[in-house]
């Protein structure tokens, strides 16, 4: 995969540029050759010249490491590692089944919550609706580790809610604690229902209300309209959301880590890696990669099919006012509850961030408060190092993502060349691979030097970290660039060319200039995700390169919960600052939303 453009390039170079000789008498050979190169984008070799380095990067850092992992998995024991998956009693088999089971349950739960939320918020008018719409994505916006920690602090055996209820009812043990798989499912539901919510509300918004009215007009009752019109029209949105949630759950690592569910694919990768069994870790990674790729292909196949977007524009779906008094009070109560539930994770992190380390043992909420955690982080150079690391590594990765992502988006959207679909798939492959798999792939590929690391061993160095972030978040910049590019009329660039601009000048002064808001939104998203990255980092960091999330994890292990939450709070603040900036980037908005949909 991704190899075709590489091999296609030389053959393109051998295509003679002109077969006839169009030069009028008196014109030498040299000026024509010069003209040929000045021709830039017009010549046949141009797309390949642009695409070749891009294809090489994708091959070197996404595709080739994947093969390296596979080689690693069969290197020592042949296929013996894989037969583990077929054995009835083995850890491998039960991990795979547990992962699949958790994913399926997550799809179901997220589907119910997400679709219900979309219907309530898009079809009904009730007090508090606007507020809920504004904060509905907050839990999902948290970085993966700090998000999972906040749910652990809220709902686990030692969590605020079960202990609060215990105190309230005076029972022996915490009430309604979520542990193990149930805990994982709570985290998944809260962080992944937005896939369904966004898909369903977009489908509802894009649906022409007159279609529904036509069904009523033809005599259908409410249930029948639901069954025969609304649900079928939502189906494409729900199917793609299901695939997304399934993939994301499969890749989920922090939730099983925090709730101690060891028998999942991602946890087994981590455990085998830390036990030094790289071949077995590679085997899990390969199996997970194959499953993820299958889902990626299923999604692309499904996306290509028709969706039921109505053609008529500008008709807003009418919202139904809740009129009966009981319903009104119930709606208000539900709104308040929803607001509390949605804000609770962030609130918990903020609260705990100000708690003194070691002061919170059996109380419902921490008992002693202090600002010392933040003072420590900013005054102790060793405590501040993870923040510097994260900012530095994310910045480097983001710059790489922007350069490569924008050019790939341009190539895929605007240029005509063989292997275009492969290039597109290769980028999305980087997105489909779980963070743990990306990390294992890079370990397999760069624990010895190869061409793509210029002969250097990258494992154990600083550079493996930004490289992992680059691979993981390149698709975000690609997606937002590509979405922006889709909104820019190709004839703008042609107009610039027609007025005498060279390809580079037309690209720079028109296309790139117009892409800025969308690209910036994607870049910010990549940067924020880099600062919050945990899943891949935890497998490849060294003590010098530990990023914020790894530091949070280490602090949690040494029971410095307050300091851990303070780091988390800083991540959260950064995210909200970036969200505000993104919102300001006028046309970048839709692009960033497009990209956000793809945030794993």
């Amino acid at each position: 995969m991704g190899g075709a453009p590489v091999t296609a390039a030389p053959s393109a170079a051998t295509v003679p540029p002109i077969t006839e000789d169009p030069a009028p008498a008196g014109r030498g050979r040299r000026p024509r050759l010069g003209g040929r190169f000045a021709g830039g984008a017009s010549s046949r070799w141009f797309p390949y010249a642009l695409v070749f380095p891009l294809a090489l990067i994708l091959f070197g850092y996404v595709v080739q490491p994947m093969f390296a992992t596979f080689a690693e998995s069969v290197g020592v024991d042949g296929v013996a590692n894989y037969t583990e998956f077929l054995r009835g009693e083995g850890v491998a088999r039960s991990s795979l089944l547990t992962s699949l089971g958790i994913s399926a349950a997550s799809v179901l739960l997220c589907g119910i919550v997400g679709v219900a939320m979309a219907f309530l918020l898009k079809r009904f008018q009730f007090p508090g609706r606007r507020l809920i719409e504004a904060i509905i994505l907050v839990p999902a916006a948290l970085p993966p580790l700090i998000g999972a920690i906040s749910f652990q602090l809220l709902y686990s055996e030692t969590g605020i809610l079960p202990r609060g209820l215990q105190q309230l009812f005076g029972t022996e043990s915490p009430v309604l604690p979520f542990t193990g798989i149930a805990g994982v499912l709570v985290v998944h539901t809260f962080t992944m229902y937005p896939f369904f919510y966004l898909a369903a509300s977009a489908a509802l918004a894009g649906m022409d209300p007159s279609v529904e009215e036509a069904a009523y007009n033809l005599g259908a009752g409410r249930v029948r309209v639901w069954r025969t019109v609304l649900l079928p029209m939502l189906t494409p949105a729900l199917v793609s959301a299901s695939l997304l949630v399934f993939m994301t759950s499969l890749a989920s690592y922090t939730a099983p880590l925090l709730f101690g569910v060891d028998r999942t694919m991602t946890m087994q990768i981590y455990i085998n890696r830390t036990n030094g069994d790289l071949p077995m870790a590679s085997t899990y990674a390969s199996v997970l990669a194959v499953v993820s790729i299958l889902f990626l292909l299923a999604m692309r196949w499904y996306e290509g099919r028709r969706s039921y977007r109505s053609q008529s524009k500008g008709i807003a779906a009418h919202r139904r006012e809740i009129t009966n008094p009981f319903g009104k009070w119930a709606a208000l109560a539900a709104s308040i509850l929803a607001t509390v539930v949605l804000l609770a994770p962030v609130g918990t992190i903020a609260l705990v961030a100000f708690s003194a380390d070691g002061s919170w043992t059996t109380e419902v909420i921490p008992s002693a408060y202090t600002g010392q955690n933040f003072v420590t982080i900013f005054s102790d150079p060793r405590a501040f190092q993870p923040i510097l690391n994260s900012l530095q590594m994310s910045l480097i990765a983001t710059v790489g993502c922007v350069v490569v992502g924008v050019l790939i988006a341009y190539a895929v959207r605007r240029l005509d060349f063989r292997g275009r679909a492969l290039l597109d798939v290769a980028v999305m492959l980087a997105w489909a691979l779980p963070g743990t798999v990306v990390a294992i792939n890079l370990i397999s590929a760069f624990s010895t030097g190869n061409v793509f690391s210029f002969g250097q061993v990258l494992i154990g160095t600083f550079w493996i970290m930004p490289l992992a972030y680059f691979v993981r978040f390149l698709p975000l910049v690609f997606r937002s660039s590509s979405a922006t590019l889709a909104q820019i009329d190709p004839s703008l660039e042609e107009a610039a060319r027609n007025l005498g601009a060279s390809w580079w000048r037309a690209f720079g002064t028109v296309t790139l200039r117009l892409m800025v808001p969308g690209v910036a939104a994607g870049a910010l998203l990549a940067f924020v995700n880099g600062v919050g990255e945990f899943v891949a980092s935890v497998l490849i960091y060294t003590s010098q390169t530990a990023p914020i999330s790894v530091e949070i994890n280490n602090r949690m292990y040494s029971f410095e919960v307050g300091t851990a939450a303070a780091y988390g709070m800083l991540q959260v603040v950064l995210i909200f600052v970036v969200m505000v900036i993104s919102g300001r980037l006028q046309s970048g908005r839709s692009a960033s939303r497009e990209a956000a949909k793809w945030t794993a």
């Binding site: 006839e20 984008a41 703008l492 042609e494 107009a495 027609n498 007025l499 005498g500 037309a506």
Partner: protein
């Protein structure tokens, strides 16, 4: 003097496989001429224009500007001024910046540039609009900015790709007069693409009618209207009845055909028509060249009215003549006629014309 020449130009796209989007097109356009490529959508007219602009290169054939071969010259080295169908104005630039873009690339000095931008905006009646943003302009104004942007660089050739198709009907007529005026004033050669035959008739010095990637006929508007080369042109330009009639005698310039009532008439035919007695000839006769009369008048073709539609200026009828529907557009209609009536048709034989299939 010939300004733009297309010599056996063909264009095949990889996507469409074997079918040529443009198939062996030969056109030469004189300096200062307003030349229109006219045809239904998908006929290859825009592809042809884009090859002249340099956005596509021909699969085979040559394109010359004057004596220079520009077949594979990139678009930015061609010095053409193009007006795009959707105007393609740069949304991040003001009106003046849009118009000045080409001048900046040509390194025109600032004072000179400002003067020329003002002049171009004045030419399209937008003086004083320089500081506006593009989204503050109406569709018609945007169209004129696009025209000013193309004119200001004083291109050797002006290329217009359906520039009026996004305007409403009234504005369309005003603007086409305006474009024609500006083109005459500036003395530019203009190549204009449209699917609207009225627009083509009103504006052009010459028209190339295209269909399925091929040029069907090139000629002045009157020539194309009155002497269509083939059945497609006859039907596409205005409306026309193309009747298949038996040939009884031929000369170099006429063909004598038998009419449904048995009468015979000599019809003008293109030189080299190649028809022989006993074959069938296609004869074009336009609806407005058929008069209504009584069935008893000598020489009248008898028929039965199957459709009748009053449009104000004229009445459109479809008359069934021996099983063949004939369209008639009559200004004088006998009082009280109705669908089902028998009626006589009087063909204006001067205006009939033999066309190729």
């Amino acid at each position: 003097m010939i300004d733009v020449t297309l010599e056996s130009v063909s264009k095949r796209f990889a996507r469409t496989g074997d079918t040529a989007a443009v198939d062996d097109v030969d056109i030469s356009i004189a300096a200062g001429e307003f030349f229109t490529l006219l045809g239904p959508s998908g006929c290859g007219k825009t592809t042809t224009l884009r090859m002249v602009a340099g956005f596509y290169f021909p699969t085979s054939g040559r394109i010359r500007f004057g004596t220079e071969d520009v077949t594979r010259r990139p678009p930015n080295k061609r010095d053409t001024g193009m007006v795009f169908q959707n105007y393609a104005l740069f949304p991040h630039m003001s009106v003046a910046q849009n118009v000045a873009y080409g001048l900046k690339i040509r390194r025109v000095g600032r004072a000179e540039s400002r003067r020329r931008v003002e002049e171009a905006l004045g030419q399209v009646h937008l003086a004083g609009y320089g500081e506006r943003r593009i989204d503050q302009l109406s569709g018609g104004q945007q169209q004129r900015v696009a025209l000013a942007r193309a004119l200001v660089i004083r291109p050797r050739t002006l290329l217009l790709d359906e520039p009026l198709s996004n305007l409403d009907a009234k504005l369309r007529e005003e603007t086409r007069t305006e474009i024609r005026r500006i083109q005459k004033e500036s003395g530019n050669t203009a190549i204009y693409v449209t699917h609207d035959q009225a627009e083509a008739m009103a504006m052009s010095d010459r028209i190339a009618v295209m269909e399925s990637g091929r040029v069907q006929q090139i000629g002045a508007p009157q020539e194309i209207y009155h002497r269509p080369a083939n059945a497609f042109v006859a039907r596409f330009i205005g409306r026309s009845n193309v009747l298949s009639l038996p040939v009884t005698a031929v000369t170099d310039e006429t063909v004598t055909v038998g009419l449904p009532d048995g009468a015979e008439t000599a019809v003008a035919a293109p030189v080299g028509h190649g028809l022989r007695a006993g074959e069938a000839a296609l004869v074009s006769v336009r609806p407005e060249h058929i008069g209504l009369t009584s069935t008893t008048e000598p020489g009248a073709l008898p028929g039965r009215i199957t459709e009748l539609e009053f449009t104000g200026m004229a009445t459109n009828l479809v008359v069934d003549v021996a099983g063949e529907p004939v369209q008639v557009a009559a200004i004088d209609v006998p009082a009280g006629i109705a669908v089902g009536d028998q009626i006589g048709l009087r063909l204006n034989r001067e205006r009939m014309w033999v066309v190729h299939p």
